[in-house]
């Protein structure tokens, strides 16, 4: 508190910046008393304003029964999982007074390893979303579960006579063993029924490739930590599927270990049409047309294993200069790595590429090392067909009852299937979903499905490990689960889902039923259920077709949106407002293209282009969307993301971005070309919170050669404040390792969830009023090969020791704490925004409006989700990263109560805890033994804008890249 008052004392050397008089504190009347006097006169003017205090008495209402296990105000943790395409990602849910308020990764779960991604963080908002469906509807009018149950039961009973002919069930991918049991019963009851699996982000080409190589669709578990070279063929290893988090974790861990001995291993090589976070992390990235990846894969296979390629001679004429050079480097590295090589292919690539990748792995002997084969954890894929047979069945009149559960094919199936049109023709259509979405509107019946976090269930991780899902709250939206539905289809009597899941597993265990069950629910993981590695030798390759994709014209490549995916999360405002890692775009999608193509087309960022398939078929298939020009996109390629332009479900997602699915074809889901591209001359806004693309020559993201150290600057630290900061024994600090960060944005989402950060919408983001306390800056830098390199840098509050913001606050609302935090006191803030103006890092955020949902009708539901120990800020108040001070204080209080010390790692900030690559380290910088102190002693450690002499507590570890550019080499 005394730092301002102490500023009058002169330094010993006589140096001082200001005359003493200007620094004298207000004499006589202290500033605090002055403010109170002002407050008092206001209170008097308000005639008894003080009396208003008592007009609304508050009540304390105890429970009516004593609950010994429950301590009011306490926090409990429950293990469960959230599902991504049926696969489990284990989480630990923090519940405050019975309300789930935060999801953290489950360290015991193989898909999480303690971290999560941004989408998992946002599942919390999905749980509380007030726009979720909560009413059973029949032809749009409110009905009830009882009516639906009776109706469906009668209908199923009638179908039983026909052995289920006419019944069609559409499900999403699922790994649930309990559901499989019920499915078997239902399939026995209805042998003639059609079972369909709808997965917009399917890995069908990988399954097809595995079937060709091994005779059955085995799954793979990739282990990048075992590799010395990883080659990604159009594969976003760090986000694709449910294994992205653990892949990123293991990759980063291996890299950190290698870096400590001065090498970059695993060496990451990526060939992709549009930049991804995996590509941005790559040591050797090639921007290549999606069609040309097949050529790369085949040639790579030919180089590595000439005998097994199935292609006598590869027509490598089709590769052009840069591609050829990349291929040579990749082949050389793969051969050198031998069994420690890993080649992976992405879902957008045809099965031939997957086959080539797997055959390279097999030929190099890396099967069983860097990639393991397992029986597929997903059982539905082998038991169900796709949507095409459903379309034919509806057309032929063979289908009369269609049950769709947890899927939205009217929006996300390819428009060629015209699913919506066909469903509308039928009488008996039942949709079960989280939202009253496009499919719900096409069906006669709609009923709410329960969210993963409010259901009992089970699911497998990508490596086959099963885990139990337990509900954290009673279903908020009156929803029921897939298990309930499948039991209904199987004709079983109504039993709680819990009993079904428990009985399923207890039938398997035979002994210690209760204790094993309790342990499984407690840890979220069922022991010894990981799939065993399958030893299988690849079959001889069949003669591969030597067709060569045409390399002409502009091609459009489709990818799922990084956060909204295929549109399933379009109603999640956190994800809509989370800047996409590469483009930084929020609330919409763009046509991504490189500068050369943009120049040739004569279009700039925000200019609307019109894309039409050149083949002419598909009338009205043209799509218009704004362009975004960034480097790193392959030549003659326009990259667009699907999942936007929703037209039903929730006001959050409806009409955001453009639905591009009319361009997609069943034969070419992820690629269409050649296309006609017209420039409309109009422009449409593209909302991007980050205004800069380059570092403008400044050393913002610094990098070193592996094993190298940064040159020390000659900055002299002269404190602005007098008197020592940091009188407390523990001093908090943070170090962010830019060599580990992959720019995924999970930290931003976690911070938003933890710190009750509101969403502001596209209009406000456009005005620069986004509220994220931590942002991930993306920069393009000139690469040695002429292409652009991409760098990410998470920027939270730097918690400067000599903080410029503190000096200019007229009310003293931002002050330094004794343990080195730059405190923000909302109650004192009067919103001058001086602090933000004076912040060189631009990390302060201002509530221009009452952004927190305190006023609208959604408020009660959303308030349940709030972290109770973090103040919800009102209008006119400045806010910023606090290093999760509530977690620090809670740890201090725990330590006080236990009479212990806070050990290193006991306090973790939300961004640190979520980080899949463990790039963020936080702790006590006064203790030289802590991880953060060790990180700060590294030769790679540096302060952002060090020359400003703010002495940030948040420092960075310089990125480690091969052959570094000149220091701070911005474009």
């Amino acid at each position: 508190m005394g730092s301002r008052g102490a500023a009058t004392s002169e330094k010993k050397d006589g140096w001082r910046e200001f005359a003493p008089a200007t620094l004298a504190p207000m004499s006589g009347l202290e500033r605090r008393s002055f403010l109170k006097l002002m407050g008092a006169s206001l209170a008097l003017a308000g005639l008894g304003a003080g009396g208003c205090h008592s007009s609304t008495p508050e009540h304390i209402v105890p429970t009516t029964r004593k609950q010994n296990a429950r301590v009011p105000g306490s926090t409990r943790w429950y293990a469960t999982s959230v599902l991504r395409d049926g696969m489990a990602l284990g989480v630990l849910a923090r519940c405050d007074d019975g309300r789930p308020t935060k999801l953290e990764g489950n360290p015991d779960h193989p898909a999480s390893l303690g971290a999560t991604d941004a989408i998992t963080q946002a599942e919390l908002l999905g749980l509380y979303d007030p726009h979720r469906s909560a009413i059973v509807r029949r032809q749009g009018r409110a009905s009830s579960w009882e009516v639906l149950e009776d109706f469906l039961r009668d209908r199923l009973a009638a179908l039983e006579g026909k052995k289920g002919a006419g019944l069609h069930v559409v499900l999403g991918p699922t790994t649930s063993p309990t559901l499989k049991d019920l499915f078997e019963l239902a399939a026995t009851r209805f042998p003639q029924a059609g079972w369909h699996r709808h997965a917009p982000l399917d890995d069908a080409s990988a399954r097809e490739a595995m079937r060709r190589i091994f005779g059955r669709p085995l799954s793979t578990v990739v282990q990048p930590e075992m590799a010395t070279v990883v080659v990604c063929l159009d594969c976003d290893l760090f986000t694709e599927g449910a294994s992205g988090v653990c892949c990123a974790d293991r990759f980063a861990d291996a890299r950190r270990k290698a870096l400590s001995s001065g090498s970059l291993s695993p060496w990451l090589m990526v060939a992709e049409p549009s930049p991804t976070i995996t590509g941005a992390r790559a040591d050797d990235r090639l921007a290549v047309r999606r069609t040309a990846v097949s050529l790369l894969a085949r040639e790579l296979l030919y180089r590595v294993a000439p005998g097994s390629s199935g292609v006598a001679e590869v027509t490598n004429v089709a590769l052009v200069g840069e591609e050829r050079a990349w291929l040579e480097r990749a082949a050389a590295r793969l051969l050198a790595a031998g069994s420690r090589a890993l080649v992976v292919a992405g879902r957008a690539q045809p099965s031939g590429v997957h086959e080539a990748a797997m055959r390279i792995n097999a030929a190099l002997g890396s099967l069983g090392h860097t990639t393991r084969l397992i029986e597929p954890p997903e059982w539905l894929a082998s038991r169900a067909v796709g949507l095409q047979p459903l379309a034919s069945a509806i057309d032929s009149g063979a289908a009369d009852t269609v049950v769709l559960a947890g899927v939205n094919p009217v929006f996300d199936a390819l428009p060629e299937l015209r699913i919506g049109e066909r469903l509308r023709k039928l009488e008996g259509t039942f949709h079960f979903g989280l939202y009253r979405d496009e499919t719900a509107e096409a069906c006669r019946w709609h009923a709410p499905l329960a969210h993963d976090l409010e259901s009992w269930g089970d699911a497998r991780a990508p490596d086959g490990t099963a885990g139990v899902l337990q509900p954290l709250v009673e279903p908020l939206g009156n929803g029921r689960t897939l298990i309930w539905l499948m039991a209904m289809l199987a004709g079983l009597p109504g039993v709680p889902d819990l009993d079904r899941v428990r009985e399923h597993w207890q039938r398997r265990w035979r002994t210690n039923l209760e204790s094993t069950w309790r342990q499984s629910v407690g840890t979220g993981v069922i022991a010894d259920t990981a799939a065993a590695t399958v030893q299988e030798d690849p079959r001889q390759a069949a003669e591969a077709s030597a067709e060569i994709a045409p390399r002409s014209g502009i091609e459009v490549v489709f990818d799922p949106d990084p956060f909204v995916l295929d549109g399933r999360h379009a109603h999640n405002a956190w994800l809509q407002e989370l800047p996409r890692p590469l483009t930084r775009v929020v609330w919409g999608n763009v046509a991504l293209m490189g500068p050369q193509l943009a120049q040739r087309l004569g279009v700039e960022t925000c200019g609307v282009i019109r894309i039409e398939p050149a083949d002419g078929h598909g009338d009205g298939a043209a799509v218009e969307l704004p362009a975004l020009v960034i480097p790193g996109v392959a030549e003659e390629t326009i990259a667009v993301t699907i999942g936007h332009g929703r037209c039903a479900g929730s006001p959050v997602g409806i009409g955001r971005g453009v639905d591009v699915s009319s361009l997609r074809r069943i034969s070419a889901q992820w690629l269409v070309g050649p296309v006609h591209v017209g420039v409309t001359g109009r422009s449409r806004r593209v909302v991007i919170p980050q205004g800069h693309e380059t570092m403008a020559g400044r050393a913002i993201v610094r990098e070193v050669a592996p094993g190298g150290v940064l040159a020390r600057s000659g900055t002299i630290h002269l404190p602005i404040y007098e008197g020592a900061h940091g009188a407390a024994p523990q001093q908090w600090g943070m170090s962010i390792d830019l060599a580990s960060c992959i720019g995924c944005g999970a930290c931003v989402a976690a911070c938003q969830a933890e710190n009750n950060i509101p969403v502001v919408g596209p209009d406000q983001v456009e005005r620069g009023r986004e509220m994220h306390w931590i942002r991930v800056d993306r920069y393009f830098t000139e690469s040695r090969r002429g292409a652009a390199d991409i760098r990410f840098q998470p920027v939270p509050c730097m918690q400067c020791e000599d903080a410029p913001c503190e000096l200019v606050c007229p009310t003293g609302a931002t002050q330094h704490s004794a343990d080195g935090l730059n405190d923000m006191n909302y109650a004192r803030c009067i919103g001058t925004r001086y602090c933000s103006n004076n912040c060189p890092y631009k990390v302060r955020r201002f509530n221009f409006y009452l952004f927190a949902e305190r006023g609208d009708e959604a408020a009660p539901r959303i308030q349940q989700m709030r972290t109770p120990r973090v103040t919800v800020r009102g209008r006119g108040v400045m806010e910023k990263c606090t290093y999760c001070v509530h977690r620090i204080r809670a740890a201090e209080m725990r330590a006080r109560a236990d009479n212990s010390m806070i050990s290193d790692g006991a306090v973790r900030t939300a961004c640190q805890q979520v980080c899949p690559t463990r790039a963020i380290v936080f702790g006590d910088v006064a203790d030289p033994a802590t991880l953060v102190s060790k990180a700060k002693r590294s030769g790679r450690s540096y302060s952002l804008l060090e020359e400003l002499n703010t002495r940030p507590r948040t420092t960075y570890l310089a990125d480690a890249r091969a052959e570094p550019e000149k220091e701070g080499g911005g474009v």
Binding site: M1, S33, K36, L37, A40, S41, A43, L44, G50, H53, S54, P57, E58, H59, I60, V61, P62, T63, T64, R65, K66, Q67, V71, P72, G73, S74, A727, A728, P729, Q815, H816, S817, A818, D819, L821, D823, N825, Y826, A827, R869, V870, T871, T882, V885, H886, R889, E892, M893, R896, A897, N899
Partner: protein, 212 residues
């Protein structure tokens, strides 16, 4: 006869009125700031309750321990208000028909819980934990006063930030030996505690000790 009012009478009167007004305002302000008048901050006002529970009787005469009812005071931010089970532990046998206890019996039978009126009301901008204060050796009596003398409960402390800070700056004033924390007659700040060890003393006056 000279004029009763001189030429400056108006000015004098206006100045006088302004002066009186200023004195009233200033006096009010000074009272508000330095006096912490109890009427403005609801200090020492007895709050009526749906059940006229007397701490004086239960604590002072019967000698019940604070933690018999406020069970989570050592383990949570909230001290806790008892469920009717706790009351009925005795009142199932004592005063079983007393009309004053009817709300408790109704709650016990499964009716609406008793909605007690809050006496100590901290602003929402403050984070307060009973657990940490009690485990640090702060006595109940340091903030709540002599509960054994209060028939109904009143707010014994001003609950203003200056009052919080007076202890956070000099914590030993509120401390008692650990075994006396729950003694309603404990005397915090007596000479025995002059040398009390206070951990993390520096952090106690940082804004983020309470405001975050």
């Amino acid at each position: 006869m000279p004029n009763l009012f001189g030429p400056r009478a108006d000015v004098v009167m206006r100045l006088g009125m302004a002066l009186v007004g200023a004195v009233i305002c200033a006096g009010g302000g000074v009272l508000f700031v330095y006096g912490d008048p109890s009427w403005a901050i609801e200090q020492r006002r007895y709050v009526s309750q749906p059940v006229m529970f007397s701490h004086q009787h239960h604590v002072g005469k019967l000698g019940l321990d604070c933690r018999y009812c406020h069970q989570t005071v050592e383990s949570s931010d909230f001290a806790g208000v008892p469920a009717p089970d706790t009351c009925m532990g005795c009142h199932a046998a004592l005063y079983t028909t007393a009309p004053i206890l009817e709300p408790v019996r109704a709650a016990w039978r499964g009716g609406a819980p008793v909605a007690w009126n809050r006496v100590y009301r901290l602003p929402d901008v403050v984070h307060f934990s009973h657990q940490v204060h009690v485990s640090a050796g702060v006595a109940c009596v340091s903030c709540h006063g002599r509960m054994d003398e209060q028939p109904l409960t009143m707010q014994a402390a001003p609950l203003r930030m200056g009052w919080c800070l007076s202890c956070h700056r000099h914590p030993e004033r509120a401390l008692v030996p650990m075994e006396e924390r729950f003694d309603p007659r404990a005397t915090p700040g007596s000479a025995r505690n002059a040398g009390a060890r206070v951990d993390r003393r520096d952090i106690l006056t940082s804004c983020s000790a309470c405001h975050y």
